[in-house]
Each structure stands twice: as C-alpha cells, then as structure tokens.
C-alpha cells in the first residue's frame, strides 16, 4: 500500500463515496434532531441575585480593603449556600420529598459576577416553576440563616427569580446539537469512506490494473445496468450538441 495519497485520489474517493458520506451525515443530523426534540427533557433555568454588603460602621478600614473582605466573604457564602445547612431547609420548606441534598446541590450553581459583590444563584430544573421556587427560597433561607451562622446581616436580595409559561429551556439546544452532529457526522463518514477505500482490495480502474499488473487495458466495458446506460446516453447527447 502506498503511503502517500494525492489530492486527486482524495477527491476521487470522496466522490465515489458521496452517497455514503451524504447519507451518514444526514442520518446523524436527523437522529440528533429527533433526540433533542423528543427524547431529552427540556431543562429550565431560573436565577436570583444577592447583594453582599458589609455594614461595618465601627471600623475605619480602607474602602478597598472592605471590598477585599467582601470578596472573601462571597467565596465563603457560595459554599454555605450549597451546604446541607441551607439545602435541607430548602427541601423542607418546599416539601421536595423525592429530592436529596445531593441532587438539589447539583441543580444549584452559585457564582459571583466578576469582582462584584453580586452573587447569582442559578437553578436548573425540568419545571421552570420549581426552578424559580428553589432559587427564591434558597435566597430567602440563606438570607435568614446567615445572620445566625455568621452573626452578620449584610445580605440583600437584589432580584427575585421569575418563571413564565413562555420561558425557553436552556437545555437542550436543538440547533446547536444538530450543527455539532452534522459536523461530527460529516467527519465520521469521510473517515469511513477512506477506511473502506483502504480496505477495498478490488480492482476498480484502469489505473489500478496498469499499476498492479503492468498489463495493457485493452478494453473497458461499462456496467450494463439500465441506470448507467441512461447516464451514458445523456452524456452523449451533451457531447453531440
């Protein structure tokens, strides 16, 4: 087997397996479309924002040091929000019987936006109203509990989580899925085409014969299938014009 492959051979292989490449790409794309539209449960997202502000009146610290302290606090808060101390209360308040602390933990994502003092609690769930309720009660309970836990009262709710009937799910994203699977299907089928070409040990062209057998090709007879014949006839008409 030759090690190198010319650009011409490359395109010849692609053209030869065009149908295969096209159909595999189409199949994979369609499959991902069907799966994203019909089989994956849509997940909705809802988020609430908290403002962390140290209400410190009796110390004369530098203002930027204040912020530094606040940022450290925010990191601590993120962990507290996702701790069982808060989540168990959320489950109790919302009466989420079939949910454990861990499973609730996975739905909640806490992050602060940049260097700001705003913390966003994002909740993902198959039901947009449950996502909203979890986000809101987590924020409420956290606000309430933090006064006991850390002996400070510096958490304010900036924006409440909302939900509506018209809300778009965040997952799955069918268009993105389809686009990705189209690219993957295309690459996969090209790979397959070359694999088949590599594994094919049959003679297919005059060049094959001349290269392999070093014998003259004294004739090539086209396939006698009706389809092929029609194609030849069409080519002839074009030639004669």
């Amino acid at each position: 087997m030759e090690e190198t492959i010319s650009l011409q051979e490359f395109f010849q292989t692609l053209r030869k397996r065009m149908l295969l490449i096209f159909s595999i790409t189409l199949l994979v794309t369609a499959l991902s479309g069907v799966i994203s539209f019909y089989f994956i449960t849509p997940i909705y997202e809802s988020s609430t924002q908290l403002l962390i502000n140290q209400e410190d009146t009796n110390t004369n610290q530098m203002p930027d040091l204040d912020i530094q302290t606040n940022l450290q606090l925010i990191n601590t808060y993120s962990i507290i929000i996702k701790s069982p101390a808060i989540l168990d209360l959320v489950i109790k308040e919302l009466a989420l019987e079939n949910m454990t602390t861990q499973s609730l933990n996975k739905k909640i994502n806490v992050n602060s936006e940049g260097d700001s003092q705003v913390v966003t609690i994002t909740v993902q769930d198959a039901d947009q109203y449950i996502a909203r309720d979890i986000a809101n009660s987590t924020a409420d309970i956290f606000q309430r509990e933090i006064t006991d836990l850390m002996n400070i009262n510096n958490v304010g709710i900036l924006a409440k989580a909302t939900a509506s009937e018209k809300q778009e799910p965040v997952k799955p994203q069918p268009i993105l899925n389809i686009a990705i699977s189209m690219v993957i299907g295309f690459l996969l089928s090209i790979g397959l085409a070359f694999l088949l070409e590599y594994l094919d040990n049959t003679l297919t062209s005059e060049q094959d014969i001349e290269k392999l057998l070093s014998l003259p090709v004294i004739g090539s007879i086209s396939s006698m299938e009706i389809k092929e014949q029609k194609k030849i006839a069409r080519l002839n008409k074009m030639q004669q014009k």
């Binding site: 094919d200 040990n201 049959t202 003679l203 003259p216 007879i221 086209s222 006698m224 030849i232």
Partner: protein, 232 residues
C-alpha cells in the same frame, strides 16, 4: 419463460440489440485493440478467462464475437467452459451436442457447429458435460481440433472456466495464440488478478491484455463519450 430468455438476450447481447450504443462501441474498441495487440503474429485463436466466476467472461466473449463477425470475419465462438457452459443460453441454442462430443468422436464438425442470426458468426456449444473436463481439453484430439478449426475460420474465441478455480483455462491458453483476462470492477481482488496474470504469462499464448468489466460511469465520464464521438 421465453420472455425471460429474450430479456436476458437483450441485456447480454447488446452489440446485436443496440449496435449503436456506447457499450457496443466499447466492444468495438476492444476489437480494435486486440487487432493491434499482435502485429507480428496472426491471432486466430483467443481464450478469454477471468480470475473468478461471474466476472463477465461469457458476456464479453459473446459480444466480442459479434463485433468481429460484424466486421466481416468468419468467427467461431467455442464454449470451452465444460463445467458451467452458458453460451447456449446466451444465444438460445440447443446444447445436446457440442465440443465434448467432438472430442470423444461421437459427432462431426458439421453436426455440432451452429449458425446464428448474425452473419459470419458460428457457435460451438459445450456439449455433454464430461467427468474430467481438464483431461479432455489436454488431449491430443483437442490440439488437432483446433488446427482444423483454424483452417476454416478467421477467428476462434474460447470461453473458459475461471482460471483460479480450475486448470482448464491454463490448458487452453497453452494451445491458443492469445489470451485475454477479464476483471470485474469492484469485484475482482487484486491478489487474484496478479495470480491469474502469472498463470497466463507462463502459458504459451500471448497475454494480450486486460478487459475491465462492469466499469462504473462515474469513474471517468469522458472515455466512453470520446470513443462514441468518433463514430457518430
């Protein structure tokens, strides 16, 4: 049944049914190439074989015989495939007596050679299938028969069994002037083709070349139109 037979003839004997078709033109190109392939030595007997069964030997040889006959040559097509003869089906003739009966001296040339609707084309079917075809073809009787046939025909074409399967084609290659290897595009394996070539090269006859059968048009759309463009 008769209808089906006709259908079969239609597709196989394209050089009769549609002598202006591009495929017929491909057969005429093959004919020309055979005529040019041996200048110094006259080719009167040619065998056609292929590495494996079902690669288009019989169709190729039938159409080739027709285009040679159409050129005005007196052609005899011999079905020397004594294991799985097909020519009597292709031309719809009876195969009660043929080559084997000749070789066993059970019949005379006049009894077994049949005329066809094609002018100048004569057929010699296989005849009764014998128990040891290779021995029969190897016999001195076969050599004598070939000499006799050469005297009365311009060209004798032999259809043979696949060369990798049995020795028959090799035996006949040793007794004839030229041999042609038919390979089927996308079906004949490279290794088999190389082995067939080696066998034919070691025989007495000249290996004239290879015929690529069942070639897909899309591989090279230009060639056939080019040849067809020449006749019009």
């Amino acid at each position: 049944m008769a209808n089906r037979m006709n259908k079969k003839m239609e597709t196989q004997l394209i050089t009769i049914e549609n002598s202006k078709s591009p495929i017929s033109e491909q057969y005429r190109t093959l004919r020309t190439n055979i005529q040019y392939s041996s200048v110094d030595k006259e080719l009167k007997s040619i065998i056609i074989t292929s590495p494996n069964p079902g690669e288009g030997k019989s169709t190729t040889i039938a159409n080739l015989a027709i285009v040679f006959a159409q050129q005005g040559k007196k052609v005899l097509l011999v079905d020397a495939d004594l294991r799985k003869p097909t020519i009597h089906y292709t031309f719809n003739i009876n195969n009660t007596k043929g080559l084997t009966n000749l070789l066993m001296k059970k019949a005379s040339l006049g009894d077994v050679i049949q005329q066809t609707p094609v002018l100048n084309l004569f057929l010699l079917p296989s005849g009764t299938i014998p128990p040891y075809p290779a021995e029969l073809l190897q016999s001195e009787m076969m050599s004598q028969l070939m000499d006799r046939l050469k005297a009365s025909f311009d060209l004798i074409l032999f259809d043979t069994p696949p060369i990798l399967a049995v020795a028959d084609a090799q035996i006949l290659a040793n007794k004839s002037d030229g041999s042609i290897l038919v390979v089927k595009s996308g079906s004949t394996e490279k290794e088999g083709a190389v082995r067939s070539k080696d066998i034919l090269m070691s025989s007495r006859s000249k290996l004239l070349g290879v015929v690529l059968n069942n070639k897909m048009m899309k591989d090279s759309p230009y060639q056939t139109t080019y040849y067809y463009g020449q006749i019009k």
